[in-house]
Structures are given as C-alpha cells and as structure tokens.
C-alpha cells in the first residue's frame, strides 16, 4: 500500500542522527573546511566509540544483507548527517566503499578476515580506488596491472581521487580495495579487486588533493610501485570470466548511488533550512497557497527549491526501498543520483544568491554548502553518466548502442 510515512523505529533513528549532526558536526564544520588537511581526531574517536555496539551487531557494510529497511535507514541517516556536514560524513571511520567492495565481491572467508577489524580497536578506514589520471567515468579503461609472481600479486599503476585513501593507508590499520587488470586483452572481465592493506610493500600515498568543497574528506593519490599483495587478497575468484569481478562493482553502485543522492539532499536541506529560518527572523513567512500574481519572486524561488528537493528525496527513497525489497534498482538508483546531484547544486547556488552578501560570506555555512553540494554531481557516476544509464534503460539500448 502506498505510504510515505516513515516507520516509528526509523524516525527514532533519524532524530538520533540529527542530534549527532547538530551537536557534533555543525560546531566543527567551518574549522575543518578552513584548515583543510587537519584531522578532526576527537570527532573520529567519539563517533567510532558511539558506533561500536552497532558494528558489533551487524558486522557492518552488509551491502548484501536483504530484508528490513536497511537501505532506507541508511539513506535517511546519510541525509541527516550530511545536513550536518557532508565532508565529515565521508570521513567517518568505517569500512566505507572499500568495505562495500569486499562485501560485494569477496568470499565469506574474506569478508570475515577483512571486515572484522572494524568491530573494535582504534578507528579504521576502508577505501576504494578505481579512478586513474587517465580515466574516471570510463572505469573499464584502467591501466593499473596485476601480475602473478609466486605467492604474490604484483600491482603497478597510479590511482587518484581515492576517498579516505590516506586515512586507510597511513592513519589507521585500514585497507584500500584497488582495481587492476590481470589480463588487458580480456577487457572488463580481466579487472579484479585487490585488498591492499596498510604497510604493504610498494604502496604509497603520493598526494592529498586540495578541493573546492568537502575539504575535510581526504582525497588521495596512490602509487602502486611493484606493490606485492598476498595471493588471497584478490577478492572472489582470480579466474578471468565474464561474470564476477567488475560486474560486482557495478552492482555496488545500485546501493551507493541512493546514498550519494541522500547526501546531496542533506546538504540542500541544510541550505533551505538556513534560508527559511533567516527569513522567519525577518518576519517573512513563505506563503504557499497564493496566486502567482501576488507571490513574490523570493517565494516562488523558495517553493521551487523545496519542491526540487522533495522530488529528489522521493526518487531516492524509492531506489533504497527497492533494494530493501530485493528488487533490481539500477535505473531508479541512477534517476535518484542524477536528480539529486543537479537539483542540490542549483538549490544551494540559489540559496547563496537569495542571501546576498550574507550568502557569499564565510561567516555563515551557506557558501560552504554550495561548494560541498557540487561533488554529488560528479562522484559515483557523473550527472552525464547517470543520465546515460537512465537513457539506455528507458530506450532499451545497450552500452554499445548508446554511448
């Protein structure tokens, strides 16, 4: 039965995450935006301790777990926490995208072996590296190679833009899942994920990027120079076959795109809330049900912004709900991501404009949210790539027919 009301348990969680966002993230938001490469250690410690019980219970990152409202809860959490600070959200210690790759492509034994570190001890990060200087959207074109040599896989290449890469490799006992080709001639089928742990010989972080927004999140360039990883660090089967491997990464997008969409929505909502509260202080209430001839330009803009955000949110909830029901959602996940990325980019830009000199000033967080928002139009598939996926599906074209 159609229903847009959140269940009480989910609502409870929402309130909790909102408190975290408001009291732990917002107060340090500006500081770690300005001091770009500094570490919010205290935040990491607190949030790591706070999440301990949950990690114990779930083994985390169970992107493969079905049933319940897990994905829906995750997107709602992402929205709340990104209402707090999207950069800090991306920096929260945990298995992250690396963990998601292990969960999607690893054997049961590998999941246990690689993910158990996240249950206790010091804060740790997992990361995922597929993007290279020469290719991002076209991830099947990667040139990093993996060659078998005795008891090791030897990796060579350069990865860029790896979220939490430095924290995974230098600041904690974490790992990066590196995608490399074991057989160039086999194309996609030859691309395999390797778990590269901290301290593996031949891996190094060569750079941490300076960015427009989400500055507290580390974006690392990683060099693999005859990097030797043990044989059992290849996730899943080493066999080059059409299924498995690369296809499994693509499947993780179905779960992560709605999360990125929700991140965007959280940032957009932060901006809208700020504008609404500000106007209210000026004794300006948005009047919803009045004639267009009487509506002010500001009211029209605001209502449009709010509607865009709500539309994006509903697309996102649908994509997450489908996943919870075990329904294939690639189309809907891309719709949500494309819509949320572009709407929130526009909404935050407009919010800055509405607030005039106050919007442009670094005295308030609004300008930061505009900078943060833009990343959602780029990572986890750019706007164009997500639209391409939607277009292929609605038209029934293959990736060869529509490029």
């Amino acid at each position: 039965m159609i229903d847009f009301e959140l269940e009480p348990q989910v609502l409870e969680r929402t309130k909790f995450f909102h408190t975290v966002a408001e009291h732990m993230m917002r107060p340090i938001s500006r500081q770690y935006d300005e001091q770009e490469h500094e570490e919010p250690r205290e935040f990491f410690e607190t949030i790591w301790k706070g999440g301990a019980r949950e990690r114990q219970a779930s083994g985390e990152s169970g992107a493969d777990r079905k049933g319940g409202a897990r994905n829906l809860t995750t997107v709602i959490m992402a929205e709340e926490l990104c209402w707090g600070d999207a950069g800090l959200f991306l920096s929260i210690p945990g298995p992250g995208l690396g963990g998601a790759a292990v969960a999607a492509a690893g054997t049961a034994e590998q999941k246990e072996r690689f993910l158990k570190r996240f249950k206790d001890g010091e804060p740790k990060w997992g990361a995922m590296a597929i993007t290279e200087p020469g290719c991002g959207s076209d991830s099947a074109a990667i040139t990093t190679t993996a060659r078998r040599e005795g008891d090791y896989w030897v990796l060579n290449g350069t990865k860029i833009f790896c979220t939490a890469g430095q924290r995974a490799l230098e600041k904690s006992d974490g790992f990066v899942v590196v995608w490399a080709t074991v057989d160039k001639s086999a194309g996609r089928a030859g691309i395999k994920p390797f778990v590269v742990e901290r301290g593996t010989p031949g891996v190094s972080v060569i750079r941490v990027e300076s960015k427009l927004g989400i500055r507290v999140s580390d974006t690392a360039a990683i060099m693999l120079d005859n990097c030797r990883v043990p044989l059992d660090h290849i996730l899943g089967s080493p066999k080059v076959e059409p299924s498995g491997g690369f296809k499994d990464v693509m499947a993780t997008f179905d779960a992560t795109r709605p999360i990125v969409a929700a991140m965007a929505i959280g940032v957009g909502r932060a901006a809208l809330d700020f504008v609404r509260d500000f106007l209210r202080d000026q004794r300006l209430e948005i009047r919803y049900a009045i004639a267009p001839t009487r509506m002010t330009a500001l009211e029209r803009d605001f209502i449009e912004m709010e509607t865009e955000l709500e539309a994006a949110r509903l697309l996102t909830w649908r994509a997450a709900w489908m996943l919870d029901r075990g329904i294939r959602n690639s189309l809907e996940a891309s719709m949500a991501k494309a819509k949320a990325g572009s709407s929130v980019t526009r909404v935050t830009q407009k919010a800055v404009e509405i607030m005039g000199p106050l919007g442009y000033s670094r005295k308030y967080l609004l300008e930061k949210w505009m900078r943060d928002a833009k990343i959602n139009d780029i990572f986890e598939g750019t706007q164009q790539i997500n639209l391409l996926i939607v277009a292929r599906r609605i038209l029934g074209y293959s990736s060869k027919e529509l490029t």
């Binding site: 074109a141 000026q282 830009q349 800055v352 509405i354 000033s361 300008e367």
Partner: protein
C-alpha cells in the same frame, strides 16, 4: 546604424589588456587566491595600462582621454578573463575617480583627482553595499541627514574594496528629505559623499572572508555620525545623477561576468577535446558538445546585451533597463557557464589544481554585487 564592429582604437585596447591578462594576471591568479593577496608589482603593472588615469583631465595628472563606457567594458572583460579578484583590485579606484570626473564640481575634481592620477597605484574606492540579505540600491539603509552645515552619515557598509589602504571613498547613502526626482535620477535620494579615510566616526572593520574573490581585500565599514561638509556631496549643489553612475557600473560588472564565463568556456572547450573517455574525446559526446555550444552562445548573448547598454550610455541615454538586464543576465550566465565547465572537467574540476572551481566561486559573487559596488 547597426554595427557590430569595434573601432581600431577599441581593438587595440582589447588586445593590449588581453595580452596583459594572459601574460601577467592569469599566471598569478591561483596563488593570489590561496594567499589572499595580490603581488604589488602586478597591481602596479596593471596601473601602468592607464585605465584609471585615462579619463582624468591632463592638468590634474591624467591623460585627458574621452571616456567610453563601451571601451571600458572591453577592458573589464579582458581583465576579468585573467582573474576577477585582480581585475576588481586594479579597477577599484575607478569607483572613486570616474564619478568625480563626470559629476564632481571643479573644486572636487581639483582636490581629489590628483590623489588617484599619479604614477603609483593609489587605493580608493566606493562604499555601496550593505551587509543585509535584502540590500537594495534604491532603498539604502545608510542615511545622510542634512544638518545645517553639511550632512551626517550613518550606517554600515560591506564589500568595500581596498578600504584599509584607501585615502578616500565615495560613500553612497540615502539623503533624507531629498524631494522626489531632485537628485539621483531614477534612484532618487541616492547620493554619493566624498569621505576621507581620517574622517571621525568612520571605522574600517575587519577584512571580509568570502567564498570567492579571496585575493581582493574587501572590508566592512562603519559610519557612526560621520560629519561631512555640504561640499562633500558629489556635485555639491547640483546633486549627481547616481542612476547613471549605477548603470555604468552595472555594465562594468556585466563585462567582468562575461570575462569570467569566457575564461571557463575556453578552458572547458580545450579540455574536452583533449580528454578521452570510452575511446574518444569527451567533446564528441553530444552531452558535452551541446553543453559547450550553449555556453558559447550564452557568453556571446551576454556580451551583446552588455555592449548594447554600454553603447546607449556612451550616447548619453539612460540605459536603466538595458544595464540592469545585462548585469543580471551576465551574472547568471557566469554562474551557469562556470558550473558547466566544472562539470565538463568531472572530478578534476573539483580539485584546486585547475582554475575552474575558482571561477565558479568568483562567478557566484556577481549576483551579490550591485551596480556601484565593486567596479
């Protein structure tokens, strides 16, 4: 007669300033943004182009050029193509000088123009904007109250360029008791007052921190009962047509927005032809090609609207509507084009190694700045 061709002199100005922007401004832009400072040498070199001194009469230290709003727009576009913050820094003294050239009394010209018509760069500017979300040039909160011998100025200003170094400002305020239409043209009641840095009651508050234009030093200003004489009002007994000044300044803003947009368009175009994905340059994808095509035509459209307003002002027409729409249109084009350029660079656009994110941050400022504000 319809004509889209620049004069030889205008081409020369465009090419000279363009070369300067390419060779000197652009290479300094990133460092200036990160360090929130512009190298003084660069500012001096820009000063030597004579853009500020040009229209000042020769006997007051200038070059006595016939001022043209259109030629000014050409120069502004080129400077901003190089870098907006640097462009606004070097243009800021115009905000002080040009209104005095055009609407000051002889006495005001003689007293204040020599301040800026010198060989060395001299900071001066205007205080127009106010730190309010609903800032409105036609309803300023800063007031000038007539008080027998002169005026008392009260209010708060923001985005005042170079206030810390400036010797004098033009402070824009709403003159109380001014009768309709008596002053300020369409912006009746809006008047400019020459205020020297040392005036008592004038405080330059902290330097502002904004999303963009980080290299441009702008300040908040407080005016606590600043007393100025009757002669301090621009034009003295013949109040200035501030609506005309605002229109000129909107044209300059529009031209700068066009410059930023053009910079981003060109960069993204070149990148898209170089960058390969899925076996071909990304420029061959219609999603990218159409975006670039639209960016190109929007830049041209914005420039034509700007030139139209400029040309009308040069003919002595008001161009109230034309200058406003040019400014608003160019501001939104600048935002859209820089945002699209970033998108075309993908993840690389989000990184501060490329200049595109800087252009996006700067471009967003245009919606905030009103005429008379920064240039």
């Amino acid at each position: 007669m319809i004509d889209f061709e620049l004069s030889d002199e205008q081409k020369m100005v465009r090419d000279t300033v363009g070369a300067f922007a390419r060779e000197q401004i652009r290479p300094a832009a990133r460092q200036a943004d990160e360090a929130a400072a512009i190298p003084p040498d660069l500012v001096q070199h820009a000063w030597n182009l004579g853009l500020v001194r040009g229209p000042v009469p020769e006997k007051l230290g200038g070059f006595g050029d016939q001022r043209s709003v259109l030629t000014g727009a050409l120069a502004a576009e080129e400077l901003a193509w190089g870098d907006l913050a640097i462009a606004m820094h070097v243009a800021a003294p115009q905000l002080f000088a040009f209104p005095i050239v055009e609407m000051g009394t002889d006495e005001q010209r003689q007293r204040f123009l020599p301040l800026v018509a010198t060989d060395r760069f001299t900071a001066a500017g205007a205080a127009t904007m106010e730190p309010r979300y609903d800032f409105d040039l036609s309803a300023l909160a800063t007031t000038a109250t007539p008080d027998g011998s002169g005026f008392t100025l009260r209010g708060e200003k923001c985005c005042v360029p170079l206030a810390d170094e400036a010797r004098a400002f033009l402070v824009y305020a709403r003159e109380e008791g001014a009768s309709n239409g008596s002053a300020g043209g369409e912006l009746h009641g809006l008047q400019a007052f020459i205020v020297e840095r040392e005036a008592s009651g004038l405080t330059v508050v902290e330097r502002e921190k904004n999303m963009g234009l980080k290299a441009l030093a702008t300040y908040q200003l407080k005016l606590d009962d600043v007393k100025v004489s009757r002669d301090a009002r621009l034009g003295a007994e013949r109040p200035a047509d501030t609506a005309r000044l605002a229109a000129q300044s909107r044209v300059a803003l529009a031209a700068m927005a066009v410059g930023v947009a053009r910079a981003a368009f060109e960069y993204a175009r070149d990148y898209a032809k170089e960058r390969h994905a899925f076996g071909a340059p990304i420029a061959t994808k219609q999603a990218i090609a159409f975006m670039l095509a639209e960016m190109a035509l929007e830049v041209d459209a914005a420039r034509l609207l700007t030139w139209q307003a400029a040309s009308m002002l040069d003919k002595g027409l008001k161009a109230l509507k034309e200058s406003s729409r040019a400014k608003h249109y160019a501001a939104s084009v600048a935002l859209k084009v820089t945002d699209n350029a970033l998108q075309i660079l993908g993840g690389h656009g989000y990184i501060r190694e490329h200049p595109v994110e800087l252009w996006l941050r700067n471009a967003r400022g245009f919606a905030t700045f009103e005429g008379l504000a920064i240039v």
